[in-house]
């Protein structure tokens, strides 16, 4: 334990420092090892998607990066400014929407900052609404605003759109990409949806049994990924242990929803 570097060394120039750096990361509950020997770097402004089946350790990894689980004696570097959007929006039902966004903000005109963030996600008209009156998509947009108002250098998304209907989900993809383009946080998003991963990511990291089994960097710009999608999907699904059936692929849908951004 003592021989390991303790992190937080500032040897290289800051602009080349990854915002996230895990070396030989291991996490286990009792005898049950969830993640073992995992190395991961995330560059500033990079959009990483973590893909995996249920129980592959994705959420455990995200919770580690969020600082929600203790990591004693591990070589883990995460930025101080980070924010999480959970699958359930986790808004406090007894605080109005703007107060939820302003939760924990201390400097400046808190109300104004919350308002600006809510306008950015298209909810300028629901500032004083009670969270329990929001639809699922609206609640997730509030959760996004609450995360982004902190200007995090690392934004963590834990299957944020899994509970939304297909159309709302596509709109949320566009929203997330446009917010990411404007604010440029490093993003790590957890999902089990291969098409979502292909449409959004700079890099797809595939996790299985607590190990990274495949990494794919996608160079094609978003909205022009119809060409690479089919091959990529079958590689990812293959690594997940799935069967890839030939037939009309949903590549067109990927082009459609990512194309709305350009």
């Amino acid at each position: 334990m003592d021989a390991r570097p303790t992190g937080f060394s500032r040897v290289t120039a800051p602009q080349f420092d990854p915002v996230v750096r895990l070396r030989d990361f291991t996490r286990s509950f009792g005898d049950n090892t969830i993640i073992s020997g995992l190395d991961l770097d995330i560059a500033p402004g990079e959009f990483v998607i973590l893909l995996g089946r249920s129980g592959s350790g994705k959420t455990t990894l995200l919770r580690t990066l969020a600082g929600l689980d203790p990591t004693p004696g591990q070589n883990v570097i995460v930025p101080a400014s980070r924010a999480v959007v959970f699958q359930d929006a986790r808004l406090l039902p007894w605080k109005k929407v703007w107060r939820n966004v302003a939760l924990g903000l201390r400097q400046g005109d808190v109300r104004q900052r919350a308002e600006d963030a809510l306008r950015e996600v298209g909810l300028g008209h629901r500032l004083d609404a009670w969270p329990l009156t929001l639809s699922g998509g609206e609640a997730q947009r509030v959760a996004l605003a609450r995360a982004l108002v902190r200007e995090p250098s690392l934004l963590l998304l834990d299957e944020p759109f899994a509970a939304l209907d297909a159309l709302t989900r596509l709109r949320m993809h566009e929203l997330v990409l446009s917010l990411w383009t404007r604010h440029r946080p490093a993003v790590m998003m957890v999902t089990h949806d291969v098409d979502e991963a292909i449409a959004l990511a700079d890099r797809v990291v595939l996790l299985d049994h607590g190990r990274i089994v495949l990494q794919e960097r996608i160079e094609a710009p978003r909205g022009e990924r119809g060409q690479v999608a089919r091959a990529l999907r079958s590689r990812l699904l293959g690594a997940l242990g799935g069967q890839v059936l030939e037939g009309p692929s949903p590549a067109e849908i990927i082009a459609l929803h990512a194309g709305g951004l350009a």
Binding site: L68, V84, L92, W94, G104, W130
Partner: protein, 260 residues
């Protein structure tokens, strides 16, 4: 024919009819001498006594004394209950220290403590207030404690992920989350306080509703006894309305089931 039919139909669904008929029968029984006044005074007599007592100020004075007993006793009991619930709910050591004692206390019927309290505190105001306070601790404690423990851990985790300090988590998440339970406890405490007040006031009091009843018993003034019973009922209703009003203000964020 149609009009009388309509009247009988609307009378058939009137909920005030049977109490009114009951009062009329009672009055008729008293007037005819079937119910002697020493057994139960007539409604008209009760009403005129109520007016007399209201005009003379006798009612207001004694009501005020009883009211103060409830308010002071409740204030002490609710405060102690809330503090103990916070101690037990927010820390594991607090739970270990406080909860067993509270469970033991729960098994002792409060009113059984009356003789002991008289030995300790005499027969002045103190034992009455102490009994009310003691009885109202537990409902607040139990409900607030379980409310704190029942706060959604996912909300707490969400708040933690935004860097809220421990004190901020308590202030913004735990306490508002436990508020509905606290109000339920408060409602129980209020009704228990009134119940205990009735008994406690019969301990050699020289003022208050219980004193009025005791005095009336000695002179067989059943009219005054009935007036005091009515006042107790009104106190109970008012207490309930108070908590309802607090709930409506404090829990506006809950979508009302009735409205939908």
């Amino acid at each position: 024919m149609a009009i009388s039919h309509r009247i009988s139909a609307s009378l058939g669904s009137a909920r005030w009819l049977s109490p009114l008929l009951f009062l009329l029968a009672w009055e008729a029984g008293s007037r005819s001498g079937l119910i002697p006044e020493r057994t139960l005074a007539a409604p008209s007599k009760v009403l005129s006594t109520l007016l007399d007592m209201a005009v003379s100020g006798e009612l207001a004075d004694n009501l005020w004394v009883s009211f103060l007993r409830i308010v002071i006793g409740l204030a002490i009991g609710v405060t102690v209950g809330a503090v103990l619930a916070l101690v037990a709910g927010l820390s594991r050591q607090g739970e270990v220290a406080v909860d067993p004692l509270m469970q033991i206390k729960r098994t002792i019927p409060t009113l059984a403590l009356t003789p002991l309290f008289i030995v300790w505190f005499g027969i002045g105001e103190t034992p009455k207030i102490a009994l009310i306070a003691f009885a109202s601790i537990f409902p607040v404690y139990l409900n607030l404690y379980s409310g704190i423990r029942g706060v959604d851990l996912r909300l707490l985790e969400g708040a933690r992920s935004f860097g809220l300090s421990c004190a901020e988590q308590i202030l913004h998440v735990i306490l508002p989350g436990a508020l509905p339970s606290l109000l339920v406890g408060l409602r129980y405490s209020l009704s228990v306080a009134i119940l205990v007040l009735v008994v406690a006031e019969q301990i050699n009091a020289s003022a208050g509703l219980g004193y009025l009843i005791n005095n009336a018993r000695d002179f067989m003034r059943t009219d005054i006894i009935v007036v005091c019973l009515m006042i107790y009922a009104v106190l109970g209703l008012a207490a309930d309305a108070l908590v309802r009003a607090i709930e409506n203000r404090a829990l506006v964020w809950r979508p009302s089931i009735v409205a939908q």
